[in-house]
Symmetry: D2
């Protein structure tokens, strides 16, 4: 089983081309009346890419159960194959982000598979939130911040190993997320635990190549349910500052307290030179890891509004990494990742339409209504023709989900890959 | 000072007509490819109306301060005048909802003024959450649920008075929102307080004409900060059930706990025949009373998706009242109300575009991704040309905000109406 | 390995008896000055019991990982053994609540083991939120509310099977919690899904013996992340009403939206005759399932304040079931369940100390401060001597955790029970 | 009208002395068994003081209404008189925190009144969240961060004026809280607004005497409902760092997002040397400003647990300011402030009882259950006899509320001070 046939993509595109041309022309004329050159937007969208997480192509689950689908990837090579399909059809996901030890394989073989499916390697991800089989020290009570020095050293070594693997693959960044924290008041000393975390991370940073960046990720709660070491952007910022010039903060859209203004946090991190990048997804309650843009698309747009604003202001050193991080429990993961990559592009395209000169004027004159409408009018513009044209122009599919379904890819891999066991861990 | 000149509206429309026709034609062609007749949507949007709250045309405030603008309405007649402008320019707000005692005036004079500015009268609103000057019993510790019988009777009588006034005006509904509750655990008996509330409301219902409805409104908190008698839709439903066939639940979008799925509550109330209507607004934190659609436009769409679904299913007795309820602290209230009325129409138009046959199929087959995209594709369609055309066709303004600003209405009334004092109540 | 030796308990109690007698006498004198007879409180506490969940004696986990401890129970017989220790040392947990299919075994063997360890059987729990091996139809997209009739029937049959097993064990109630819902707007029709749920539940109720009760449990979210069929007490109440006289609502303290006033919900359900019982635990963020009373002990007290109030008012038919439902990720489950059972007793004892006559007077006169302090002064009374004396008097341990640790029980069972595998499902 | 008669206090204390001695002795013996010297705790509690806010002695309100009580203070001299009563009866509130311009009077007269009633002056509070009559520039769209330079300068000058007044009174700190932010996405540039804020604050800091501190206070929302300039502790920390060595962060317990772990924020600020102090109060929903300890007393204890821990660790430069900040809508403000001051003392006393050596051991060995119980056992100790004895020993009242009520103070001042108008601002 290989990629989707190029002929099939071309044929499907042909059937949709006339309607796309009509929609694109109409939108072009409309945008022209607003003083916007549609071609420039299309070019920018075409040049945009978001990384997919290797673990995202497997069906996710909750603590209650996991319900796998047909054709679950057996290993990282299957995962790379699936990721290749995503990029082939959307043209929007040129890189994959690996997770160690889940994806630990011979780097040469990984690189060869990446080349085969047309994918590069984005940030490496370490895992010290679960115990690997045979691991000497358990992370039950923490990893980089554990009270036991040997456990901390094991976690440090694991992160350094991730860097080593990444170097062989051409990655240029390490993402560190830990679940360390506590479940009860008193269980841990907030201060001592954070001091240990910082000391461990400094050891990791020592192993970082000079052209790499290290991203730390904050999260309010889960798996720890009373306190988490890196609980919010305030602590995350302190970490990035303590760790030095190569350290930056990663923002996962689902990792904040209810009602928090995330786009404002993004702006603050940009202002203080510490925005490292994103884990895109969507959520209604907690770290729901739903498909990007599926719950609150305006919030996603407002985040991109800050990014485009920083880009256009030419903020020094501004270069955030973009990655999807989702858990697909009820959809085909390939479909969800394709759709999500397109939703990220959509928000980017909409943000590019914002009349920033008018916005600045309304802000300066405190014209709240017109300022609000300036954003809303960009957001409500249907940029689908732009996204579709960008895909079409680079040989991807005008309708990726449709082509994917018609291709029979899922059934084909299901015939090769054995059925995966689901079930429950007995945890309620 | 009278309404905006019709000539000015016509002239402004002329200047925008060509672009509108182009956008409308393009959208029509696009929708035609999706099997939708744009004209039918435009007709439905044109027939849609939302009531404006009389109190909404004055600048609002917080407990910290109130910052009035120029030309604040002095009384209900000024308010009706302002409301008339909103309807003239948007064609979307044919009725006004009055608040007693704030708007208490001779009904004949009110009706005459309504006729003059082209407005009818929607639901009446009672006020037992603040003390009117000279009031015999204070509502400091509650009104309809107060421990003191005389205070309860006063609140009952006030509600009956609202009905009487409404009868003279042609209103057909009474909306009852109370702030009754408690600030501390123990302050009130949850049960006894609710029993008193129910008993009082039953007395109010006795005075309700047979062709009226009574709407009760739930709210999680504020002004009571520990418990509120009608705290959520569960309690609200029980009230409506206890009060009988004329009683229904009113949903204010900002009155729920964080993260709550409001559209699902709407569906439940429809299912059990007790959805009375809406107070539309938007919010990020609590009862922020921001402009409708300004914070989470997709949530507004999802509410309308339920309404259109019920309408098209022909749910028996389904006839919710639609009203704006906002507090305008930093904008010209007339502008915010015009924009909000249009946002409500936008959500309605988008919901009308949902391919319900396809949606039902995806739901039946548990195709979560396509179901989600069926809603998203309706939502992301830019229906602005439909709204504008609906306005244009009925002689309202293609660009209501633009015309309003050019008309000089605010300056004209500011020249007549004295400056309003702002300041703070010294409450922090 | 059997229970803890009675001698060890007695010996440990002897060493603590003098201090306990002193503390108890001092508290008795103090309470006497407040007009309270300590003996009557002690008797009530001694008579109080809370059920433990069979699944609670195994180490829990999150979707990220599970870190088992030594001596994890291998099956329901091991679980009953562990539960027996909990009751032996605390004297507070006379019954166990089983979970099917996890605990499915020959009822006679179960009953014999229960008799052996001194435990009865509380409510039965069905499981349709995960797929059992070999199950014909998957619950990936729902169970009792699934769009597919055969899947619904399978879920109905499973619930009926739970009733059958329970009948053989002497249980008198079935608890039904389902994770049915949706992850994306549009995935499910709120209304049709709820109709299917109600129809299925009616079939289950038909199989309910006349002396049984059925408890339905609401939960805001998880495992479904956009909507849940039984999302709050409002829907839960409707279910109980639709299902008839044997149906009641179960309240899990961690299943509500942020900031919700849970004790008020308890009061409402009591008032309308539909409070079925509790799943006690504590939480800071979501359904954290932490040890009862560990995060917000005053909230637990306020819930018991409602229960004692209802008890003393003699509310007709008031008979809620009390059960712990926790997930123990970082503690020895036996210790956590012992401590939690005592925390529930503590809240009950404190609530018994409330001066209800004074409280009623303060409520009637709107003396918010004194009403609040009436509750606070009951809450802040250190009732530990009462709890300890109640345990001592019935032969349980004055210090259950201390005796348990000294007994070496955990090491002893670890020597018999093989190590359990932890690890991660690869779900982030 | 003067203070409460000393005789009355003494007489009331006499009547309660025997019971207090008995309770105190019993607690002393109990604590002795736990290795704690009760006298040392009592001494520390006696030495503890919390500042009262001058505005707190007037009845507060919400945006819906304000319901004043009898005897509302007419001016700052009345307020100081009321504050004097609070300190006389509790012995726990030796200083008052003033609010300018509300309390703007001749400093000599203020100081004389302070001396008369036995009160010193704590941190000064500026007000740029409401417009004072005759003010040249409005704060409707912001103050220190306003887009208009003249408005910013006015706000800067006002803060400097507060410093000047404070210098004359012997204050040593300025607290700055601003409501600046925005109500709609787009209304303000997050970055430019924050840059303006920082620049203004730097000008204020220039005017700060070398022995003063400046406290900035963060708040998630209200009065701004989309974004707030100083929205959380992350931004607050950045401010304190930018402003230099005299700048610190103030924590108001009610100013955070739902579910946030506040005690952890306190620990972080201590760790990085930027904890300035507290505005104590309690809340269930938002900035409810309820009486301290009335909603979640365990949370208050956990905050004090961090403070005592830092104190005992001898953290360099650790010297947080303690102040109450509440709004009293349904209670007599004097009573609420007395009770709240005692609740703060209670949390302090409980935190002093924590066995820190045992706690450190449990933390080091990851004994989550015993660590949790170490805190819980300190918290559940009823320290009321310690607080009462500390009051008694310094001539304050054993039962401050009781003495206050019997004194007839409220009626006496009501006879002198005219009734205050309540009512509503017409803002819904």
């Amino acid at each position: 089983m290989s990629k989707i046939s190029t002929d099939m993509v071309g044929e499907a595109n042909s059937g949709r081309d006339k309607a796309l041309q009509a929609d694109y022309a109409a939108l072009g004329e409309h945008l022209d009346r607003r003083g916007i050159d549609i071609e420039k937007i299309t070019e920018k969208v075409a040049a945009y890419g978001v990384a997919v997480p290797s673990w995202g192509v497997g069906t996710g689950g909750t603590r209650f159960a996991r319900f796998p689908g047909p054709g679950e990837p057996r290993d990282i090579f299957d995962k790379l194959q699936d990721c290749g399909v995503i990029h082939q059809l959307t043209g929007a996901t040129p890189t994959v982000s690996l997770h160690i030890p889940w994806d630990k394989e011979d780097p040469k073989a990984l690189k060869a598979k990446g080349d085969e499916v047309g994918l590069g390697f984005d940030a490496m991800n370490s895992n010290t939130f679960s115990d690997a089989p045979g691991q000497a020290h358990s992370y039950k009570f923490g990893s980089l911040s554990h009270t036991d020095a040997a456990t901390r050293q094991q976690a440090i070594d694991h992160n350094i190993e991730c860097i080593e693997i990444g170097k062989a693959l051409g990655s240029k960044a390490l993402t560190v997320w830990v679940g360390d924290g506590s479940n009860f008041p008193g269980q841990a000393s907030f201060t001592a635990q954070f001091e240990r975390y910082l000391a461990s991370m400094k050891d990791v940073v020592k192993a970082l190549p000079s052209d790499w960046r290290i991203f730390t990720e904050h999260k309010m709660y889960e798996p720890a349910f009373y306190s988490t070491v890196v609980q919010d952007w305030g602590t995350n910022y302190m970490i990035a500052r303590e760790l030095g010039e190569q350290a930056f903060c990663l923002v996962d859209l689902g990792h904040h307290a209810p009602n928090v203004n995330i786009e404002m946090i993004v702006a603050r991190l940009i202002q203080f030179g510490k925005l490292g990048g994103f884990h895109f997804n969507d959520s209604k309650y907690g770290d729901d890891d739903l498909d990007t843009g599926s719950i609150d698309p305006y919030r996603l747009f407002l985040v991109f509004n800050e990014l485009v604003d920083a880009e256009q202001r030419g903020v020094k050193g501004f270069d955030p990494a973009h990655m999807l991080d989702q858990s697909h429990n009820v959809t085909d993961p390939i479909e969800s990742l394709m759709q999500s990559a397109m939703e990220v592009q959509r928000a980017y395209a909409q943000a590019l339409l914002v009349d920033r000169k008018a916005l600045a004027h309304h802000q300066q004159t405190n014209d709240a209504l017109m300022a609000s409408q300036t954003l809303k009018s960009a957001f409500r513009t249907d940029v689908e023709p732009i996204l579709a044209m960008a895909r079409r122009n680079k040989g991807a599919a005008i309708d990726p989900i449709g082509v994917y379904r018609r291709s029979g890819y899922r059934n084909a891999v299901a015939a090769i890959r054995p059925a995966s066991a689901g079930g429950s861990g007995g945890i309620v």
